[in-house]
């Protein structure tokens, strides 16, 4: 929990700095944002599914999704009422990648590939649940 807290704090700070960088005329896709965008592109459309898929904690996934949405790389929609009703639960929100998102993702993957290895902390690639 403590480690996850650090990861979350780091992500939040990173997002603020990234916003700043974007204002300075640079659009910056962080490593975790790239991973999340890739997950959305691969059809993992719900927040918790993305968390499960990437192993990133919720405090990283959700702020990143909101930022990707602000940037126009993903769009969010509420699922249809009848599906939720059938399963006797509230409607969930899902995320879809946009054309801009596809482009940004391709560029980011190319960049990280060129770097040889990802910039993020190595443990981020492991599912967090396994450690608990």
């Amino acid at each position: 929990v403590i480690e996850n807290s650090f990861v979350n704090l780091y992500s939040i700070l990173y997002i603020q700095i990234s916003d700043y960088r974007q204002i300075m005329g640079k659009t910056y896709l962080s490593f975790s944002a790239t991973v999340i965008l890739q997950a959305v592109a691969n059809g993992y459309e719900y927040g918790f599914d993305i968390m499960d898929m990437t192993g990133l904690p919720g405090g990283t996934v959700y702020p990143a999704l909101r930022r990707l949405e602000d940037q126009g790389y993903v769009v969010s929609k509420w699922e249809k009422g009848d599906i939720a009703q059938r399963e006797l639960r509230p409607a969930r929100k899902y995320y879809k990648i946009t054309d801009d998102g596809e482009e940004a993702l391709a560029a980011a993957i190319k960049r990280y590939r060129m770097l040889g290895q990802p910039q993020g902390r190595p443990h981020q690639t492991k599912p967090s649940r396994q450690k608990a």
């Binding site: 704090l9 992500s11 719900y46 405090g59 702020p63 639960r89 509230p90």
Partner: protein
């Protein structure tokens, strides 16, 4: 899993309180839906109850980080809310909003216009490659009481009053060549100099233009290329090369209508054929002073051909310092290192030119300064007028701010209950201050937007009316991002400035008594603040009004100076036959022919010629034949004094027989006669190399401000050919005659351009009075604005006070006070405030008028009459605007007033 206790959902509900309200319900829905979905998945997997619950709680806790990351949106949200509220409120109170916006717009607009001018004239860097790498060479010396052993063409010097050292930026061509040879610190070094007047003939039309002589490395060193053709290069800068020229963009636009075919064609400049090889880019206007935007650039090697065809030009003379040297430093080299590199060569040159005089009092120091703004020296002469305008406009903005602050204070009174209610149901004071400040910044932004529109018009007006001595087309003042940034910055700043006092006062309220609506307890403090603001406003307005009074007086006195002759109905124009290298005989014939033909035009009463006009031109001052007599010199036609209406007081005037072959004669003015021939009749005596044949009555020469100098007038036929000014006295509208004048000159010589056509009065206004006119116009216009703002402020504050005291006044009247007593009571309070303001303002005004001492004429900076007039107007108008509410107070019906509470 126990479905009745769901701590994860409860956690999300709790954490959702952190999320900004605008996003809260969506946020909560999203997290809850995910958690509920996860619950059912876990249930399906039949995980153990405690494991599932642990997983759900952990996920629920993660929502805290999401909520935390949304905090910046909270500010954004509240800010938007504040803005919406502010706009609603402003729309509701239309009158206050309109007055506030207009007064702020005037203040912000004036300051924006002025800033755009300051930016264009003083701050902007040259539009060249890396302007910060450019350095300009200067030298300084103590000049006091010493004749320099050299001639300096350029007059852009400045003296530091602290050290007494004067700085020049001119060097000789030899210094430039030696700098170039010994250069180790600069990646490029180049020189340039101004051509003041050039006769440019294109397609058979002659026009006067100006130019810049540039060394071969000029364009390359600056990193400027041409938009068509090529720039001047090193290979063009030698006497053997074909003569070429690059056109300035503005000149290309105005004279050739942006025709690209001009490249490769030939122009005749001062009778020399030059091939146009390129066009300079639109932004680039050379490296000279701000008012010089050269028409053509020509290689320095053409100087002897173009400027000094008879030899003896500056390029050959080591003691004629006339050109400016600039360089681009190599990376990592400091200006001090450049100075160290060149100082030896410079001092060697100085020793050579002052070699025979020992010990030489002439010990100049070489200086290396930033060249990023081109030549800077004469720009500094604009800085004083610009400073004064800045003070005027800054004061107007402050007065406007104070006024709006007072309006907001009065408005805050009406909102007291709203604010108190909000405080009592839990709003924090900080939150309320933020909201009130947002309101004032919104108000200021609206004022600022209108101000930018005002500023856009105002900058052109400022340039047109300004005492800059520049034609408005020569300087492009743009409303660029910097200027807009400035306008936005001062809008926000003023918003906070006038908003902070009312906002702070509004929230500093005791809740309980305020809710009981006790008007007196509520407003005592606020009244004190608004009264202080009013005093401040009166003080600042007085400073402006005293300034305006002084400037108006100065202009009036200047307009009514007795110049010694009739300035009405005289038209001037100039021609310069020397540029076409007229021989003496042809020059004389042409002048006489033009004069006679002009005389024949209907509507012309008299025509005369002189080398400079009496007060419209600067004139020459000096001595000849090593004589002690130093005087203004004017070469004139024989009928000059007769045409100008100046009587000859003794002796005779010139006659047509006083020509080139006749013995040299001169006329002197009364001042010269008094100074140099105090006890004798000067007629028949000699001045310089001529016999004095008469004395003429004194007239102003050169300047209406200065005292009349001693003057010697000689027949122009006995002088070398030079630029001549025709002076035509007419009976009808002069403008209608101008085409006829041009035709006459064209008939005599089509290669002789006519320029500077204007009436004597226009010329005097332009050259001598422009500064006084500008200050008088601006100070009085803005003085009036300030006065108006004070009236609005005074009226508002008094009305508010009277309304607040209705109950008290009612009791007074009920107890037998007379209407006049009540009126006097209110008026006394107003006048007390105004007088305190006047006292404060007087101190400020007197300090400021001392600073503008040099700009005044015929009036001392603390002339009591002028100060008294300004005070009288201010007090009079202020008293009137306070009288209206005072009268209303005296008409209070005690019955209604007592029912009021």
């Amino acid at each position: 899993m126990n479905r009745r206790i769901r701590p994860h959902l409860w956690l999300v509900s709790l954490i959702s309180r952190m999320v900004p309200r605008r996003f809260r319900s969506d946020w909560k829905e999203e997290w809850k839906a995910e958690l509920v979905h996860r619950e059912s998945v876990l249930a399906r997997r039949s995980q153990s109850d405690w494991k599932a619950r642990n997983d759900l709680i952990r996920r629920g806790l993660a929502s805290f980080w999401d909520a935390l990351a949304m905090q910046p949106r909270r500010l954004e949200e509240e800010f938007l809310q504040d803005i919406r509220y502010a706009i609603r409120l402003l729309i509701k109170q239309k009158a206050i909003t309109a007055v506030a916006i207009v007064s702020l717009a005037v203040g912000i607009g004036a300051n924006t216009a002025l800033f755009s001018l300051i930016d264009a004239m003083l701050l902007k860097k040259l539009p060249v490659h890396n302007p910060d790498d450019l350095v300009l060479f200067n030298w300084s010396a103590v000049q006091a009481g010493m004749d320099l052993p050299l001639s300096i063409t350029f007059d852009g010097n400045r003296t530091d009053p602290g050290t007494g050292r004067t700085t020049w930026d001119s060097f000789s061509y030899r210094v430039f060549e030696q700098f170039r040879t010994s250069n180790k610190t600069l990646s490029a070094i180049f020189a340039f100099a101004r051509i003041y007047r050039a006769n440019i003939v294109a397609d058979g039309n002659a026009e006067i233009g100006d130019g810049e002589l540039v060394s071969g490395g000029y364009f390359n060193g600056l990193g400027v290329s041409t938009i068509a053709g090529r720039p001047i290069q090193d290979s063009d800068d030698n006497t053997a090369a074909a003569p070429v020229a690059v056109l300035g963009y503005r000149y290309w636009q105005q004279r050739f209508g942006l025709d690209p075919a001009i490249v490769g064609k030939t122009l005749k400049v001062n009778n020399v054929s030059l091939t146009v090889i390129g066009i300079a880019p639109p932004d680039f206007s050379g490296t000279l002073q701000v008012q010089d935007s050269p028409d053509i650039y020509v290689p320095m090697a053409l100087e002897p051909l173009l400027v000094s065809p008879n030899g003896g030009g500056p390029i050959e003379m080591p003691d004629w310092w006339w050109l400016q040297i600039m360089g681009r430093v190599r990376p990592g080299v400091s200006p001090e290192q450049v100075r160290g590199n060149m100082d030896g060569v410079f001092q060697q040159n100085v020793r050579e030119i002052s070699g025979n005089k020992s010990p030489s009092p002439f010990s100049p120091t070489l200086e290396v300064v930033s060249g990023s703004r081109g030549l800077y020296s004469s720009r500094e002469t604009y800085s004083q007028p610009l400073m004064i305008l800045m003070v005027i406009m800054g004061l107007v903005l402050l007065i406007a701010c104070v006024n709006v602050a007072n309006l907001l204070l009065a408005r805050a009174a009406t909102r007291q209950r709203e604010i108190v209610t909000r405080l009592s149901i839990g709003a924090t004071r900080l939150r309320l201050i933020r909201q009130l400040l947002t309101e004032s910044v919104v108000l200021a932004s609206l004022g600022g937007s209108l101000g930018i529109v005002f500023g856009y018009w105002g900058k052109d007006l400022l340039l047109k009316w300004g005492p800059w001595g520049i034609q408005s087309e020569q300087v492009t003042v743009r409303m660029d991002l910097r200027v807009l940034g400035f306008a936005i910055a001062i809008s926000v700043f003023t918003g906070i400035l006038f908003g902070i006092v009312p906002a702070m006062r509004s929230v500093r309220t005791e809740l309980a008594p305020a809710l009981i609506q006790n008007a007196r307890t509520l407003s005592a403090g606020r009244t004190r603040v608004s009264k202080s603001l009013l005093v401040l406003q009166v003080a600042m307005s007085l400073v402006l009004m005293v300034g305006a009074a002084f400037f108006i007086q100065t202009l009036w006195k200047l307009k009514h100076v007795d110049v010694g002759f009739d300035t009405g109905n005289v038209l001037l124009f100039k021609i310069d036959p020397t540029l076409n290298r007229y021989p003496v005989a042809q020059f004389t014939t042409a002048m006489e022919q033009i004069t006679e033909r002009l005389q024949a035009i209907e509507g012309v009463r008299g025509v005369t010629v002189s080398d400079s006009a009496l007060i419209a031109d600067g004139g020459n001052f000096g001595s000849r034949n090593r004589s002690d007599v130093r005087a203004a010199m004017l070469g004139i036609r024989w009928n000059f004094f007769q045409t100008m209406g100046v009587p000859v007081v003794s002796g005779r005037s010139f006659t047509p027989q006083d020509n080139a072959i006749a013995p040299k004669v001169a006329l002197i003015n009364e001042t010269l006669a008094r100074r140099y021939f105090p006890d004798a009749n000067p007629v028949g005596k000699r001045v310089w190399d001529a016999e004095i044949v008469g004395v003429v009555r004194d007239t102003k020469i050169g300047s209406v401000r200065r005292d009349i100098p001693p003057a010697v007038f000689t027949p122009y036929l006995q002088e070398r050919p030079r630029r001549m000014t025709f002076q035509i006295r007419f009976t009808d509208a002069a403008r209608a005659l101008i085409p006829a004048f041009r035709n006459v000159v064209k008939q005599v010589d089509s290669n002789l351009p006519v320029y500077d056509i204007r009436t004597l009065e226009e010329q005097v206004d332009r050259t001598q009075l422009s500064q006084a006119i500008l200050f008088a116009n601006f100070a009085s216009a803005f003085g009036a604005v300030a006065l108006f703002l004070v009236c609005v402020g005074l009226y508002g504050v008094t009305s508010y006070n009277v309304a607040r005291r209705t109950h008290e006044i009612g009791i007074r009247i009920a107890l037998g006070a007379k209407t006049s007593t009540v009126r006097t009571m209110v008026m006394q309070e107003i006048l007390f405030l105004v007088l305190v303001g006047v006292g404060l303002g007087l101190a400020g005004a007197l300090t400021l008028t001392n600073k503008i001492r040099t700009m005044l004429f015929g009036i001392t900076p603390n002339d009591p009459m002028t100060v008294f007039m300004a005070i009288a107007v201010l007090v009079g108008v202020a008293a009137f605007s306070g009288y209206l509410p005072a009268r209303r107070a005296s008409k209070v019906d005690p019955m209604i007033a007592l029912r009021y509470e």
